[in-house]
Symmetry: C2
Subunit: 163 residues, 2 copies
């Protein structure tokens, strides 16, 4: 997974402006927009984090770990919404980079507590700007107030769907 060939910005189309690109009339269903924008957001995030060799998921995991001070992988899976099998690879990568460390739970020997390492903290501090820049780019057409509004709305939607 640490093999990436595409460079930072090789893509450039001849014309971008004029006319909204991919949706004209009725496609503008909210669900569809969400789907499309989600795809795009993921792309942007991953592209931005690519320089660090990580992806959006790694970042999300680190971000969560920063708030809880140690969590079992099961908990990570549940809280982040990723499959347990996905957590394995993620923690593997992060552990290999020294950003997190796995240690056995004292009371339950099948559990493995994943905790943020100092290097992880540092990385988090640095990449914070990156993530912020991505969101900034994504929500460029919106003003500060609108962004906040969108953020609130999305949060509300997110909270009551899968959990």
């Amino acid at each position: 997974m640490t093999s990436r060939k595409t460079t930072a910005e090789p893509v450039k189309e001849e014309s971008v402006d004029e006319g909204a690109p991919w949706m004209k009339g009725l496609h503008a269903d909210a669900g569809y927009l969400l789907y499309r924008l989600g795809l795009r957001s993921g792309q942007l995030f991953n592209a931005a984090l690519q320089r660090s060799g990580l992806r959006l998921r790694h970042y999300a995991l680190l971000r969560y770990l920063a708030t809880v001070e140690g969590a079992a992988q099961r908990e990570l899976s549940q809280e982040l919404g990723y499959d347990p099998s996905a957590i394995v690879g993620l923690v593997d990568d992060l552990e290999r980079l020294g950003f997190v460390e796995r240690r056995p739970a004292p009371d339950d020997r099948r559990r493995r507590i994943v905790a943020l390492a100092p290097a992880g903290h540092d990385f988090l501090r640095d990449s914070d700007e990156v993530a912020r820049g991505v969101t900034d780019e994504l929500l460029a057409p919106l003003g500060a107030g609108e962004r906040e509004m969108l953020h609130v709305l999305l949060s509300r939607v997110a909270h009551t769907d899968g959990g």
Copy 2:
């Protein structure tokens, strides 16, 4: 999707009201939310359309065809944001179902105009409810006014992707 923007505007990481399922504290970045919600939306859409044997992409394509009355595949690719190679399979499926038909362009024999067939219109009318139901389910926690607001915001974001 082609240009990088370097907007240097300070954004504050305000807190979401309460933390329920999968994002506790800082994850509630708008970009990440978009990514996550997009995934969920895609899932829901595909699950709902599965009974028809189609996917969200097929639906999007039909939806677009309903607005333009015939389009070359190149145009579809450009407008929908899918790769030309993806369009081929999509049109294949839809043609096999009798929802669309490929006809040669009168002036350009290498082009193939994809047009909506009557069966496609019917399906579109039916699946319209389905899509509405999905969006309804997805945006359940939001009121009518909020949905409208979210829709507007998402549209704005979607339209101004690169410039």
